[in-house]
């Protein structure tokens, strides 16, 4: 399929968590509407930024899309195939094509495994490669994400946060996925390292034709990397459009509030904005 056709289509996705009460018999007394009917489409090769504050439902949305949690209702189509409600076994062949990069590079790598095992595990599990072929492929991946082949036998604790995030990226790319869901991939990193990882994700997208769902709370980062942005608030998407549309001409009040709260790294503009707010 060519670029531009939808790779992922999410329609009216809902994930509610029941609030239960009662001693012997659990009764559902209410629902937490974590994801409350969201819809979006990501064309192949593009990046959709999903932005929102903590509790807005963005991480739950990711998990429901990947069927790591069963959605309450709604449809998730991957390359036209309806996957909402798929069992673990049904999902297994698809896992190869949809991978995830996590926020915390300290918590998402098993401290007792060597880097070679961590990155090679998806290849071994999906029986894509083994033995010396596996090793060679893992080393190539490590080089591609900016690490060295000599890192193959090291443990996670020997790496800095930025390097660990590169390891997480190598693991996600091992199976040559089509869709990569990045859940706050740079928010735990230092500023100077954030830019490196964002640029790396950009390069990898060009090289492998990846499609990203990029989830973050930092709208500046999201705007930089995304073609389109969806703003999430209280389980719903309140606004979506191209990155520049949403950031420069926001329509929704919540989007406006979010944008105006981001500090401007320029003292004069920052003062001007504050005086404007004080006057208004």
């Amino acid at each position: 399929m060519a670029n531009g056709e939808p790779l992922l289509e999410v329609t009216d996705l809902v994930k509610h968590f029941p609030i239960k009460s009662g001693i012997l018999i659990d009764r559902t007394v209410d629902q937490v509407r974590a994801v409350d009917g969201i819809s979006f489409t990501i064309p192949r090769g593009e990046t959709l930024g999903l932005v929102g504050e903590s509790g807005s439902g963005k991480s739950t949305a990711c998990r429901a899309i990947l069927q790591l949690m069963k959605p309450t209702s709604g449809s998730v189509r991957f390359e036209g195939e309806e996957i909402a409600g798929y069992s673990r076994r049904q999902m297994r062949p698809l896992r190869r094509q949809m991978q995830m990069i996590f926020q915390d590079p300290y918590a998402s790598l098993n401290p007792r495994k060597r880097i070679g095992q961590i990155v090679g595990d998806p290849l071994a599990r999906q029986k894509v490669a083994s033995g010396s072929d596996l090793r060679k492929r893992v080393q190539e991946l490590l080089v591609r994400v900016g690490l060295g082949p000599e890192h193959y036998n090291r443990f996670p604790h020997e790496f800095s946060g930025g390097q660990r995030q590169r390891i997480g990226i190598a693991r996600a790319l091992a199976l040559a996925p089509k869709l990569v869901i990045c859940d706050e991939p740079v928010s735990a990193l230092d500023v100077s390292i954030q830019a490196q990882i964002i640029n790396l994700l950009d390069d990898l997208q060009d090289e492998f034709g990846l499609t990203y769902l990029f989830v973050a709370h930092d709208i500046g980062v999201v705007r930089h990397i995304s073609d389109r942005i969806a703003v999430m608030h209280d389980g719903r998407i309140v606004e979506q459009g191209t990155a520049d549309q949403v950031c420069e001409h926001p329509k929704d009040d919540y989007t406006k509030k979010l944008l105006s709260a981001v500090p401007i790294p320029d003292p004069r503009e920052s003062r001007a904005r504050r005086e404007a707010t004080a006057a208004g």
Binding site: A195, Q196, I219, V221, V262
Partner: protein, 345 residues
């Protein structure tokens, strides 16, 4: 003439003995802090910004640490003060707010009680009821609604932003002169961050505090600070007023930090300018300037450590540690029409 500084840190050095050798976490930091001022210390993890702040409060004292230099609060030396004196100073004269308000409170006691306890520990003559009333006043001062009822809440009943307000209320309980805020908004959402920064700023002005704001976020700095210290690998690499640092930055590391920001107020660049490499290990620092291995402008002088001094006749308070001449700096920091660090060749 400006009043004499409230807090004066001179050539502060903090080292920790580790299995790998001595880690010089803070290496010759000096600054003055005056009443009513907000001083920002900017740097990445491992730059020594938090250790500097903790050492002011005497929190880094241990068998494994070596503290040299001087920290003077209104003329009184704190580095060699005994523990009883420090206990009186903490909270009473210098108070601290931490990044994570969840782990800074005891989860099993009501918030009001924890604040009252801090008051009673320092003011023996204040009774329980009076301390509780004081906690309610403080909650009101930091903008916690329904203060009278909320002082009886437990920490888990508060949202992150409200918990940070409670943390600030506790820090203000004894009316300190110096407030140290260590990444106070890093764990918070942006809309809440803006509120907390405004609160810190207002309190600083209304109560005549002197505030040290530790952050990695230049946006937060631009919004709040009067003066800025930029730290890298334990040293101050640049210091100056807010406008000096943002509009005439002298150190390549500062350029790099500014260049790598994603800015909503400008068209987005195709590629985000980045600082290559990673911060050095404090156990294995390069000879000379610590930023040398990541700097595209390295030249023959760099293996020698540059002193922190003013190289600009028009701005004697604006100091940096870089051997390039001011003219070279003004030319080299321009990357695609903006301040940044060019990619290494």
């Amino acid at each position: 003439m400006s009043p004499s500084p409230l807090l004066s840190v001179t050539d502060l050095r903090v080292g920790f003995a580790t299995e790998g050798g001595l880690v010089q976490a803070v290496d010759g930091v000096s600054f003055d802090l005056r009443q009513g001022e907000v001083l920002a210390i900017v740097g990445e993890s491992g730059s020594g910004k938090s250790v500097t702040a903790q050492t002011i409060m005497g929190l880094t004292r241990s068998n494994n640490s070596r503290i040299e230099g001087s920290v003077k609060l209104a003329g009184e030396e704190l580095t060699d003060a005994d523990d009883a004196i420090l206990r009186n100073i903490r909270g009473e004269r210098v108070a601290m707010i931490f990044q994570d308000p969840m782990t800074s409170f005891n989860p099993v006691y009501r918030l009001g009680r924890q604040i009252a306890e801090a008051i009673r520990a320092h003011r023996g003559d204040v009774g329980d009821d009076e301390a509780r009333d004081r906690a309610i006043e403080l909650f009101e001062a930091v903008g916690i609604p329904d203060a009278e009822r909320r002082v009886d809440s437990y920490p888990h009943e508060f949202s992150g932003g409200m918990r940070q307000r409670a943390m600030i209320a506790m820090a203000l309980a004894l009316e300190p002169e110096v407030l140290i805020a260590d990444e106070p908004t890093t764990a918070l959402d942006v809309t809440i961050q803006a509120q907390i920064l405004r609160l810190i700023e207002d309190l600083n002005r209304e109560r005549g505090l002197a505030t040290i704001l530790i952050t990695h976020d230049l946006g937060v700095v631009a919004d709040t600070a009067d003066r800025v210290l930029v730290m890298y690998a334990g040293k101050v690499v640049e210091q100056g007023t807010l406008d000096e640092i943002f509009y005439d930055p002298q150190h390549p590391y500062t350029w790099g930090l500014m260049g790598s920001l994603t800015r909503l107020d400008r068209p987005r660049p195709k590629r985000l300018p980045q600082i290559s490499g990673s911060p050095p290990s404090l156990l294995d620092l390069p000879e000379g300037c610590s930023f040398r291995p990541r700097c595209p402008h390295e030249f023959a002088k760099c293996p020698e450590v540059p002193a922190l001094e003013s190289r600009l006749s028009e701005a004697p308070g604006h100091c940096d540690r870089c051997w390039l001449s001011p003219e070279q700096k003004r030319e080299k920091r321009q990357v695609a029409g903006q301040i940044g660090l060019e990619a290494p060749a």
